[in-house]
Symmetry: C2
Subunit: 321 residues, 2 copies
């Protein structure tokens, strides 16, 4: 069912994902008009997903709608920001009505869950690609930057790592998951941005990043920005039963720490804030586990169960390699 | 010269296009952090340019850098907003150093000209596509919406129309421009966003839009949003000498009013504000010409020099047709 561009925009973009009083004018004019809250900083992030690079050609459009928003909300979470507004630039090879309906269902459902308003966007024809820009609010001075880690801070991770990578291996046919396939596929297709964690730890953590390219690569960014090193104990890294089974069968640790697509948070927290942290942890909807500590020097060092340094774990996903 | 993604971002994105005090944290973290001015509304717009759709495969990268920002600033102009921050999501088939250097030169040069800071972005591999999100400020209640036109308002256009379309016809080999080719190509490749006009007319115009898809289509949006019709006198439409020569040789009016890529502004202004308008016009860096008036009814009607209604002028560029 071919539709003209303006009809497309009207039909799929013009119902705002959440009603917010701070949206003065939403989709449908040259710009959206927004009223930022007084005394707050605005956090802005953009992430693009490209067919054949970030997702397969036959990817489920509803999951894609979810994920294209989730990866952006994950960046807001890593900054300790409260999400507010999002715009969506969609490039499509053709106007497939069913595809668009499923895509917008996934996108808008996650937006509503987090009170995010869809404020505008653009629809163009071309190779399938989804570029999202998300806006959130953060109290001045409380944003979780990559550059705040200090020697002696403890390194924490939310949730579990490696699930998305293992689900991808299984989908590609190079590994067979014995049970809980659907659960792991959810982790790959519908990551949950850790917004509550980011907000709760804004006053406690010294640095944070979301794990999109793998723990080694992303923790490496904290190290580089903060001028420190990191020691990670592989055995402490939280994993699902499926990932533990994969490792027991001789699977590679690189799948857990270097393959990415986890969208968990990695945070550094001074050891003196342990009691504050315990109080907060009780209220979180996910686990928060210490996996290592910030040390002097540079780069991320991984230690195995026998105390040996492990290298050759990969460097995380990089485009253009 | 292949570069890893992070190096790419660092090299081309990390020198902010303009230093602004309201950028708390620029490129290089999970989000940018910004300080919106108290008492102003935030105007946000996104526009994507796709290779083979919006520009040719061999397009000059420096011009492309300019144009990908210009089309977004043009949306801010049409809202009467003052530009401030921009983020850039770039999808590239490979990391061509020379291409990137030329692209960023064009982008950053225009950003500096308008005091715009590059606050972040994303670089991914994939088919060439450029998605920009621009942010500006506007005093509450003064934004130029599409919906404010009233019957009796006069319709004005900045600059001249049809130059970009004629340059494209010439580049495609279907028309020969006798003189001033370079000037017309500038109009196609390096449109100048009419920011000063938008800002100056915020208190005077009742509605505005930028002409990206052709006057008929874009003025049609004002009519639809405002619940009015429009009468346009074709002879009044400002054109360059080259476009006049093209029309005299039997060229189609559709090239002038329906082909788009002009990035001029179309505004509606009540006739009683004529003296205010005269004062402002003297200070503008471009012409502002009355081409018609807002009437009751719906849709845009074009009238030729003999008073006859002209139809079949085309509907402007639409993707997915």
């Amino acid at each position: 069912m071919p539709l003209a561009e303006f009809d497309l925009i009207r039909e799929f973009f013009s119902h705002s994902a959440a009603d917010r009083d701070d949206v003065v004018l939403g989709v449908g004019d040259d710009c959206a008009l927004l009223q930022p809250p007084v005394g707050m900083e605005l956090a802005v992030t953009s992430d693009t997903l490209v067919e054949g690079v970030h997702f397969a050609v036959d990817a489920d459009p509803e999951a894609l709608g979810h994920k294209s928003l989730a990866v952006n909300l994950s960046d807001l979470a890593a900054m300790g920001a409260e999400p507010a507004w999002v715009s969506l630039a969609l490039t499509l090879p053709s106007s497939n009505y069913d595809w668009l309906q499923a895509f917008s269902r996934g996108f808008i459902s996650l937006a509503k869950e987090h009170g995010v308003a869809l404020i505008g966007g653009d629809t163009t024809s071309g190779p399938l690609s989804i570029s999202v820009t998300a806006h959130g609010f953060v109290r001045p001075g409380t944003a979780l930057r990559r550059s705040g880690a200090n020697v002696g801070d403890q390194i924490y991770i939310t949730g579990t790592l490696g699930d998305a990578a293992l689900a991808l291996l299984a989908r590609q046919g190079s590994y067979t998951i014995e049970s809980g396939v659907a659960q792991l596929e959810q982790r790959l297709d519908r990551p949950q941005p850790r917004l509550a964690v980011g907000l709760a730890l804004g006053q406690i953590a010294t640095a944070a990043i979301d794990i999109s390219d793998g723990l080694l690569s992303d923790l490496g960014h904290i190290c580089a920005s903060s001028g420190v090193g990191a020691r990670v104990l592989l055995e402490r890294i939280p994993t699902s039963a499926q990932v533990r089974s994969y490792l027991q069968q001789g699977g590679e640790w690189g799948t857990v720490v270097a393959a990415g697509d986890d969208y968990e948070l990695c945070l550094t927290i001074p050891p003196g804030r342990g009691s504050l942290l315990r109080d907060i942890k009780a209220d979180l909807d996910c686990d928060l586990v210490q996996v290592g500590e910030v040390v002097s020097g540079s780069g991320v060092t991984c230690i195995d169960s026998e105390g040996r340094t492990v290298s050759d774990l990969g460097l995380g996903y990089q485009h253009f390699r």
